[in-house]
């Protein structure tokens, strides 16, 4: 155990990285960043389209949209983009159920699309999402918003909006919890027992 980093988790242990209050403040800060970066305002052009990647990315996209609307007065269109059919590891796992894809009526052509996911890890999910987007239309630009960036990228991908950077070891698991799915809001770090 002496070789472990000082604040690493013990096997089976769970450590709270963000409380419900922290999650709310983080999302609010991300909303302000989106407004600033996309120059959202009363006289700006078409607002960006937020697309959440199911399941928790969809929850995060909904909350971000609500905050953006509250702060800027503009309600950006939002939707969900399931990437299961575009995954590169389908043949390594048992059959995965599909989640829903719902694009806003406005479509995504010539819009700024912000992909929203809970955790950024290898970047493979985002790679799949970029492939999926291409089949739905041609956005003017694609940005990425994540609540937690835990490192260990396997693709040249980075997020435009990051709620919190969390240095992790590969054996650890970062879980974002949202009340609508998990019963409470939090971000927790669990030791995966080395099989991650």
């Amino acid at each position: 155990m002496a070789s472990r980093p000082r604040d690493a988790t013990e096997p089976g242990e769970e450590r709270e990285l963000l409380s419900a209050g922290d999650v709310a403040r983080t999302i609010a800060r991300m909303a302000h960043q989106v407004i600033e970066k996309t120059a959202l305002g009363a006289d700006s052009g078409a607002p960006p389209v937020l697309l959440g990647i199911p399941t928790r990315g969809t929850s995060l996209a909904g909350r971000l949209t609500d905050r953006i609307a509250e702060f800027s007065g503009v309600h950006p269109p939002t939707g969900a983009l399931d990437i299961t059919l575009y995954r590169d590891d389908l043949r390594r796992r048992p059959t995965r159920p599909l989640a829903s894809t719902r694009l806003p009526e406005s479509g995504i052509d010539d819009r700024v699309v912000i992909l929203v996911d809970d955790v950024l890890f290898s970047g493979r999910t985002v790679r799949a999402a970029l492939d999926a987007l291409r089949d739905h239309g041609r956005p003017r630009a694609v940005q990425l918003a994540v609540l937690v960036d835990r490192g260990h990228r396997e693709f040249p991908i980075r997020a435009d909006y990051v709620g919190k950077n969390v240095p992790t070891s590969r054996t650890e698991e970062v879980h974002v919890l949202f009340s609508e799915v998990d019963g409470r809001d939090a971000v927790v770090l669990r030791d995966g027992g080395g099989d991650a």
Partner: protein, 311 residues
């Protein structure tokens, strides 16, 4: 899922999972620019048809292509089958040539099961696209998908299957699937067109169409299969049509929300009148549309996941 050979004995949870997948595929493909998914890239699907077919074959081919599988069509006419090659040798040839999935239609009941037996250990999946008078599982799945879409839920609904039940693999597949999904099935047919052993099926039987119509959520009309009829099953086509044909007058006996299905090909004026076939209550073109999504879902469940861990 390794093969899809029959709905008899199909796990209801798996059947529901396939219907859910089909539903999501339909929604995700709706209105998109590129109707092509990369999911089955590098997989080879062969359709092997020993009987004529338009919709089943086309919809399997489109389903495979929309998921980026390589689809090869083999028909008995243009292949070595015409030279007298046995089904077993044809199957082993297709498997050796690299087929990940063989979709077979054959006039002999049980052909798909035999094929699956011969291909055991090769890793090739088999889908039954209709074998004789036995089963046609993907038709039953697309019928269930269409009913679920139109009626909202399936559990506790009442569906009549009307007509030539004896010769119908569609009827047999529907009976087992609908029963597994907690749908009440009533067979309506003349006694000569009911199969032996009908008492053992999870259905009730009636010979009076008019008496059943008011309590139905859906009616599934079957084609009278003249090509399988050798003998007098009913006095005349006209008499059959009068007793069991779905007409506008009969339509009025059904509840407002009821749905009319037909697996096709239809004989207008025989088992279904032209006006009913084209009426808003008819879901016949939706059945064809859903057929593509259901077959995509079946290929997804057979071919997308890990080879060794297929559920």
């Amino acid at each position: 899922m390794k093969h899809l050979l029959a709905t008899d004995g199909l796990d209801p949870d798996l059947a529901s999972a396939v219907l859910d997948t089909a539903d999501e595929l339909k929604k995700t493909l709706l209105g998109r620019e590129v109707r092509k998914l990369p999911t089955l890239r590098g997989r080879t699907v062969i359709t092997l048809f020993y009987e004529n077919s338009t919709r089943t074959r086309v919809s399997f081919e489109i389903a495979g292509k929309w998921m980026s599988a390589d689809v090869v069509n083999v028909s008995s006419g243009g292949s070595s089958v015409g030279k007298g090659e046995s089904l077993r040798d044809t199957a082993l040839t297709l498997s050796a040539a690299g087929a990940d999935c063989v979709i077979i239609r054959h006039p002999a009941s049980g052909a798909a099961h035999r094929l699956a037996g011969w291909l055991e250990g090769t890793g090739t999946s088999v889908v039954n696209a209709g074998d004789g008078m036995h089963e046609h599982p993907t038709q039953a799945l697309l019928d269930a998908a269409t009913l679920r879409e139109r009626l909202g839920t399936l559990k506790g609904r009442r569906v009549a299957i009307v007509g030539d039940v004896l010769h119908s693999r569609v009827a047999r597949s529907n009976i087992h699937l609908l029963a597994a999904l907690d749908v009440e099935v009533v067979l309506v047919a003349p006694p000569t067109l009911l199969p032996a052993g009908v008492d053992a099926l999870p259905v009730t039987v009636s010979h009076e169409l008019d008496a059943e119509l008011p309590a139905l959520d859906a009616v599934m009309m079957l084609r009278v299969q003249a090509e399988r009829m050798h003998g007098g099953f009913f006095p005349s086509a006209r008499e059959y049509s009068i007793a069991y044909g779905l007409t506008e007058a009969r339509l009025r006996l059904m509840p407002e929300h009821a749905v009319v299905l037909h697996p096709g090909p239809m004989l207008r004026g025989m088992e279904i009148s032209s006006a009913v076939a084209d009426a808003p209550v008819s879901a016949i073109t939706e059945q064809v549309r859903n057929g593509v999504h259901v077959r995509m879902a079946v290929l997804y469940h057979l071919l997308a996941a890990a080879g060794g861990e297929r559920d």
